[in-house]
Amino acid sequence: MRRYFARKLLVYALTFVVAVTVNWMIPRFMPGDPVASMVSRARVSQPEAAEAMRGYYNNLFGFDEPVWQQYLHFWGALLQGDFGISVWVFPTPVSDVLLDALPYTLGLMLPAVLLSWIAGNWAGALAARRKVLDNTVLPAGYLLTAMPYMWIAVILAWALGSKAGWFPISGGYSLDIQPSWSLDFVADLAHHWVLPFLSLFLVALGGWAIGMRNMIIYELESDYSSYLSALGAPQRLIRRYAFRNAVLPQITGLALQLGVLVAGALVTEIVFAYPGLGSLILAAIQNQDFFLLQGAFLFIVIGVLIANFVIDVVYVLVDPRTRTGMAGGQS
C-alpha cells in the first residue's frame, strides 16, 4: 500500500511540475505580447510615455529578468499563492478573480460528478438485470454520452427555459438581487443552478450506466459467479457480489472522468453565462489575458489532482486487495 501511494504521489508531483512549467511558458513563448497589448490599450500618444509604461509592466510581470530566474521566481510566487495580476481586470490579482468564480464551478461540478456516478451505476446495474431495460438503457446511454455538452445545454435551455419557462437560462443569480446568504438569494441561486447541473448530469450519466452494465455482465459470466450458481446460491447473492466487484473499476473510472467533465463544465458555463471558471476562461481568451488563463489552467489542474487523490484514498478504503498491496502497481 505504501508503494501504491508512493507511485501515485510521484505521478501527481510530476503532473504538477509539468503543469506549472507549461503554465510558465504560456505568456513567454507565445506569439502576441501581453505587455504590448496593455500599452496599446492605454492609448498613450507620446513614445516616451509608452516606453516608460512598457518598462513598468515588464518590471511588474518580471519580464526583465533572465529566463531561468523568471522560472524560479514563478515557482516561488506560486508557492506563496501568487498567480500574478490579471490584465483583463487590471490590477486585480488573478487569484482573487479565480477564487470568486471557483464556488460556482465547484457547486456545479461536485454534485454533477457524484450524482451522475451514483445514478448511472444504479441504472447500469438495473439494465444488466432485465433484457427489456437493457434494450432501452443501452441506446439511451450511448446517445447521452454522444451528445456534446453544450448542445444538450442549449436544448435544455430552449425546452425547459424558453418554452416552458420553468428555469432562467442565463447567469448564476438574478441581477436585481444582491449576493448574500439570505433565503431569497439562495433560492434564486438554486433556481439558476438547475439547468446547467442537469446538462452535465445527463451526459455523464450515460457513460456510467453503460460502464456499469458492461462490468456487471462481465462479472456475471466469470468463474466465481458460475461456481456460486452451481452451488445453488440465490441469484440475489450472486448479483450482490457481481455488483461489488463491478463498482471497483467504476471508482477508478471516476478519477479518469474528472478531466473530461472539467471541459463539460467549461462549455456549459459558457452556454448559461454561469459565473464560474469556464466563463472566466472565455473572457481571458477573448481579452488576451495571459495571466488569467494561466491561473485558470493551474486551478483546474490542481483541482483535478486533488480530486484524483481523494478518489485514490477512497479506492484503497473500499478495495481490500489494494490494502494488502496485491493490485496496487498497475493503476
Binding site: V11, L14, T15, V22, I26, M30, P31, G32, P139, Y142, L143, T145, A146, M147, P148, Y149, M150, W151, I152, V154, I155, A157, W158, S162, I169, V203, A204, G206, G207, W208, I210, G211, M212, N214, M215, I217, P249, Q250, G253, L256, Q257, G259, V260, L261, V262, A263, G264, L266, V267, I270, L282, I285, L293, F297, I300, V301, V304, L305, N308, Q330
Partner: protein, 309 residues
Amino acid sequence: MSAPPGPAGGDAGPSAPTAPTAEKKPAGSVRETLHYAVRNPKLLIGSAVVLALLLLGLIGPPLLDTTDPNAYGGPQAAPPDSTYWMGTTTFGQDVYAQFVHGLRATFLVGVVGGAIAAVVAMLVGFFAGYRGGVLDELLTMVTNVVLVIPALAVLLIINAYLGVRSVPVQGVFIGLTSWPWAARAIRAQTFTLRTREFVDLARLSGNGTWRIVFREIAPNMSSYLFMMFILLFGGSVLIASSLDFIGLGPTGGVSLGLMLQSAQQWSALSLGMWWWFVPPGAGITAIVGALYIANVGLDEVFNPKLRES
C-alpha cells in the same frame, strides 16, 4: 468537453471493448465473422447512420447552388421550408448548406484526431506492455501524467496562442492529447499476449521487438484496436465541437461546432430559432452515438461470448 469517450467504465472507454479472444484465427473465421456481422442489428443500424451522414457530407456540398456555405443569400431568420430545408440564420445563411459542409469538417477531424491518437496509443501501449521493465515504468508514468491533465485545458492554451486554425491541425492537436486511456488499455492487453506460445516462438526465432509487436501481437488484437479507433474518433469529434464552440475552431470554414457557436453568439435561443441550433448538435450526436452503438455491435460480432446473450 464534450466528452472524449471519457474513460468511464473500467480502465478504458465508456464502452471499452471486451478483451479480444487472443488466438490466431483459422482462415474460415472471416466468413463466420461476416455471417454474424450482417445479422447484428446494432452494427447495421449504427454503421448505416454513420455512412448516410458521411455520404451526405460527401455529395451534399457539390449539389448545392453555391460553393460558399457562409454566403448571405437567403431570407433572414426563415424557418425551414422547401427551398431552405433547415431554415436560414439571422443573416440569411442557409443552415442546410452549413450543415453538409460542416459534416465534412466533423469527419475529417475525427479521422485525423482518431488516427493520431490511435498511433500514439499503440506505440506507447505496445512497447510499454511488451518490453516491460524501465521502459514500461517510464511510459506508464508519462501516460499517467498526460491522463491527469485535462486535455481541453491544454488544447485551449495551444489553440488560443498558436492560433493555428484549420481542421487538420485541430485534429492533430486533439490526437496528441487524447491517447492516454487507449495506451493504458493496449498495454494491459499486450501484457496478456506477450507470454503466449506463438510470441515465444517468434522470439526464439530471433525476431526483433518491432517485428514481434507488429507481426504477432498487433494482428491478434486487431479487432480490439479497430474498436478503440472508433472510440477515439468519436472522442475527437466531441472535443473539436467544444473547441469550436469556445471560439477556437477553424477560421474561415464551417463545422458543426462553429454553427453551434454562432447560433449561441447571435442568441438563436432567445429568438426561438431552433432550426439554427438543433441540426448541428443532432448531427454530432447522431455520428458519435451511431459509432458507439456500432462499436457494441462489433464487440458482439468479434466476441463469441457476448453473442448469445
